[in-house]
């Protein structure tokens, strides 16, 4: 009964979404206030209906209803409750439902925090989001229904993939989807601007916080996924250029370009068409990513053929959304205006160059991800495109982008002078160049890549220091006052940029200086790595809720002093009969010690892999700094004032509209 309620509320949600996607948009075109007014309540009804459907599926998982096909395929009675709930998004159908739920959450959020947006624009924005929702709900109801019954019911479920039975599964996908789907707001703002022909500084100011918020979620989501892979997959990698990762990384790259482009649109009125195009691309890549991951096409083009209905629906949906919005862009982009003049050497042009680099990087990742599929589909042979390709392509594109990151914030808007820039940055340049050569020589490993990575990291550190120094030195206020004299958005930018530097530093150091050994260990055996002594204490058997584990213990000493104890584990999940490794990790600011159990060998010995990973934690800490920078930008006064004084805001946003009409 409960699954049928869920199914039924999905159908109702589709009907609501159809009305939401049509009447408010038509109303906005015709100036019909009643039709436009439908948008807000419908957004809320849609949210309630999808949330109800979602709760029904959660219920089916929590109470182990194996007469529901999706539950039977992705859960098991022995699975602990928190993973049974996370299993809701463990497969294709449920993650689509999560997608639709999060879309409806964003839609409601826009309807709640849009008092200052003109009625017609709000109606268009919510309408466009409704249209996207129509696509997803239709897809679910037609070919991917999570509530489909299994008759006769299964006695027990097939269990969730053991790889996904991890706390990471509880946070990572919802975070990532909040980011992915959050770009639908920027997309809807852009389509609304194209439809209405209104794209001004105010538009940029309204859409900016939404875009930044989505970007924060995506940043944290990707970071959480990378960290999860690091400790779960058992060989200490943190990024694999896997198609699934690329699917989340491409929207991030374009989204990063977008928040910068939006800043220019707000501050200088330039880059309007480019901003709109980026918003369309960011969301299109989110859609493409979702479907790439979810359709199974990545494992094989032929997975498409096993259920052609799904594939055809996906293709049609992508063509309509991406093609339609690009056509609209081509048709209406000229109406949004082009903004002010700026020089070849100016902050605008540096930002634009960076945008181009980010876009090219995103397109290259897309090319590498899709190329094997195209070759296979055209019967031109099967190839693999992996880390060697992406590293080779990505590094040369990102290096100039990160270099420009040091120059851009220092350059003046509109017109900057190269000699002045060179003068201001000469110390930063000298320091970073010296560090890039001296530091690796001291550490005993100087390669071009290490040198380049260190140079870029210290370049961003040093140029940011120069930027902050110049800003703070100018005034006579006490230090705290000087800090406060700069906006939170500005500090957010500084911290996010420093986050990039921290990230690059972590990547460079860990890639250049990590070490590992693979040894055969009997209880009592000692292995040595990076100045530490690792003593194997042996393995004990442990029984988990749905697995049997061999739980190892290694105590780590340095010069005879106990430093830490590593507890790597090898698990066998009994339902799926899949072995899993849980690495034993001792995280530290300067280096991680990391051990994973391999296979049991003859005579009670185990094969053990031990890694020393210097500064690997900086990779994720850098991502958190970027997210925190975004958060500071979001907390900027000019966004907060709006919420505090909504009545004044409504007035001021309506007045110009009236005067505009009067002018027409």
């Amino acid at each position: 009964m409960i699954p049928e309620i869920g199914h039924f509320s999905l159908i109702l949600a589709l009907l609501v979404a159809l009305v939401l996607g049509s009447f408010p948009i038509i109303g906005a075109a015709r100036g019909n206030a009643v039709w436009m007014g439908l948008a807000k309540p419908l957004a809320r009804v849609q949210f309630i209906l999808i949330a109800l459907a979602f709760l029904c599926l959660v219920y089916a998982f929590a109470f182990m209803d194996y007469s529901v096909l999706y539950v039977a395929n992705n859960s098991n009675s022995k699975l602990p409750l928190q993973f049974r709930i996370a299993a809701v998004w463990g497969g294709h159908e449920g993650s689509l439902l999560l997608w639709a739920l999060i879309l409806s959450i964003w839609t409601v959020a826009v309807s709640l925090f849009s008092k200052h947006i003109p009625d017609d624009m709000r109606a268009r924005i919510l309408g466009v989001m409704g249209l996207v929702s129509v696509g997803f709900l239709l897809f679910m109801l037609m070919v991917s229904n999570p509530f489909e019954r299994l008759i006769p019911a299964a006695l027990d479920g097939r269990d969730l993939n053991p790889l996904l039975q991890d706390p990471g599964m509880i946070f990572h996908p919802p975070m990532l989807y909040m980011g992915y789907v959050g770009f639908s707001v920027a997309f809807a703002f852009s389509i609304a601007a194209l439809l209405g022909g209104q794209l001004d500084a105010a538009w940029a100011r309204w859409s900016r916080p939404w875009t930044i918020l989505a970007w924060i979620f995506l940043t944290v989501g990707i970071m959480a996924g990378s960290n999860w892979a690091y400790y779960e997959l058992g060989w200490g990698g943190w990024w694999f250029w896997d198609a699934v990762e690329n699917a989340s990384f491409m929207p991030w790259l374009v989204g990063t370009a977008l928040i910068h482009s939006l800043a220019v649109t707000e501050k200088r009125g330039s880059f309007k068409a480019w901003t709109v195009l980026l918003a369309i691309c960011a969301f299109s890549l989110s859609l493409l990513g979702t479907f790439l991951v979810r359709s199974g096409v990545l494992t094989s083009v032929h997975a498409f053929a096993t259920d052609p209905r799904r594939g055809i629906f996906i293709l049609a949906f992508l063509v309509i959304v991406i093609g339609g919005s690009l056509l609209l862009f081509a048709w209406r982009a000229s109406t949004v205006g082009r903004g002010g003049k700026f020089d070849v050497i100016s902050r605008e042009s540096f930002l634009l160059a960076n945008n181009v680099l980010l876009a090219v990087a995103a397109l290259s990742v897309l090319l590498g991800t899709l190329y094997p599929l195209f070759l296979d589909a055209l019967n031109l042979g099967k190839i693999s495109v992996g880390p060697p390709y992406f590293d080779a392509v990505f590094a040369p594109l990102m290096a100039p982008a990160i270099f420009l990151m040091g120059v851009g914030p220092i350059a003046r808007w509109k017109e900057a002078a190269l000699p002045e820039l060179a003068l201001r940055l000469r110390w930063a340049f000298g320091i970073s160049l010296a560090t890039a050569v001296i530091l690796p020589l001291m550490l005993g490993n100087l390669t071009p890549m290490i040198g380049l990575g260190l140079f870029l990291a210290f370049w961003v550190f040093a140029s940011s220091a120069e930027l902050v120094y110049q800003r703070l030195a100018k005034s006579d206020l006490p230090l705290l006052g000087r800090i406060k004299a700069n906006s939170r958005a500005w500090w957010g930018m500084v911290i996010a940029h420093l986050g990039i530097a921290v990230f690059v530093l972590g990547v460079t150091i860990v890639k250049g200086f990590e070490s590992e050994i693979a040894v055969k260990m009997l209880p009592g055996d000692v292995a040595h790595l990076a100045g530490y002594d690792f003593t194997f204490d042996g393995v004990v058997d442990r029984i988990g809720p749905n697995y049997q584990a061999s739980h190892g213990q290694i105590h780590v000493t340095k010069n005879g002093v106990l430093r830490t104890i590593l507890e790597p584990e090898k698990r066998l999940y009994t339902v799926t009969n899949m072995p899993m490794t849980e690495a034993g990790i001792s995280p530290h600011l300067l280096h991680d010690l990391y051990a994973s159990l391999g296979e049991p060998l003859e005579g009670g010995a185990w094969s053990v892999r031990i890694y020393h990973k210097p500064m690997v934690e900086w990779i994720w800490f850098g991502c958190l700094m970027m997210a925190f920078g975004g958060f500071l930008a979001l907390a900027d006064k000019r966004y907060r004032l709006k919420r505090r004084a909504p009545s004044k805001e409504v007035k001021s946003s309506q007045q110009p509209k009236n005067s505009k009409k009067a002018k027409v």
């Binding site: 001004d200 500084a201 105010a202 100011r205 058992g234 060989w235 694999f240 896997d242 198609a243 990545l298 494992t299 002010g340 003049k341 700026f342 070849v344 042009s349 634009l352 160059a353 181009v356 680099l357 090219v360 290259s364 090319l367 590498g368 190329y371 070759l375 042979g381 099967k382 190839i383 693999s384 495109v385 992996g386 880390p387 060697p388 390709y389 392509v393 594109l397 050994i517 693979a518 040894v519 055969k520 260990m521 009997l522 209880p523 009592g524 055996d525 000692v526 292995a527 194997f536 490794t581 391999g598 094969s607 053990v608 004044k648 001021s652 946003s653 007045q655 110009p656 005067s659 505009k660």
Partner: protein
């Protein structure tokens, strides 16, 4: 009787304690360190053919371990990286290598990013040139300025 038992027990305990008292050095899984460096380098570039999407360095699958062993034997014979990759490509096709070869079918893949960068640079340059030639900013009228300040308040 009991004393003999106790002695036996003590002897047994001693025997059990021996390894931990001596703290033996753990033996490397593979004896030849130089070969292992080459095996690691190669196996991060080669695909585990039965896995979802993993290098054979990362995979715990049996086939990956076998393949790794095979590479180890070839490396021990002194074969170069290129010779080993060539051998594997003959057997498994280009699918096995994560770094696709450069040939007509993959030329777009390898040249694409640089083509895109070139296109981006040309687009950027022409756009900046055009911008520079644009006449100076049209100043806002008093009415427009008021609108802007109100909108941005």
């Amino acid at each position: 009787m009991t004393s003999i038992r106790i002695i036996r027990l003590l002897a047994l305990l001693c025997a059990l304690q021996v390894p931990s008292l001596l703290a033996q050095e753990a033996q490397p899984l593979q004896p030849n360190a130089a070969v292992e460096v080459q095996v690691e380098r190669l196996s991060t570039q080669l695909r585990c053919l039965v896995c979802q999407n993993q290098t054979i360095a990362d995979s715990h699958a049996e086939l990956a371990q076998d393949l790794k062993q095979e590479i180890r034997e070839m490396a021990a014979k002194g074969m170069t990286d290129q010779a080993i990759i060539d051998y594997l490509v003959v057997r498994y096709g280009d699918f096995v290598r994560y770094k696709p070869p450069f040939n007509p079918a993959t030329s777009l893949l390898w040249l694409g990013p640089f083509g895109l960068l070139l296109a981006g640079a040309i687009g950027l340059f022409t756009m900046l040139r055009r911008r520079q030639k644009m006449t100076a900013d049209v100043p806002l009228t008093a009415d427009e300025a008021r609108q802007v300040s109100e909108l941005l308040k």
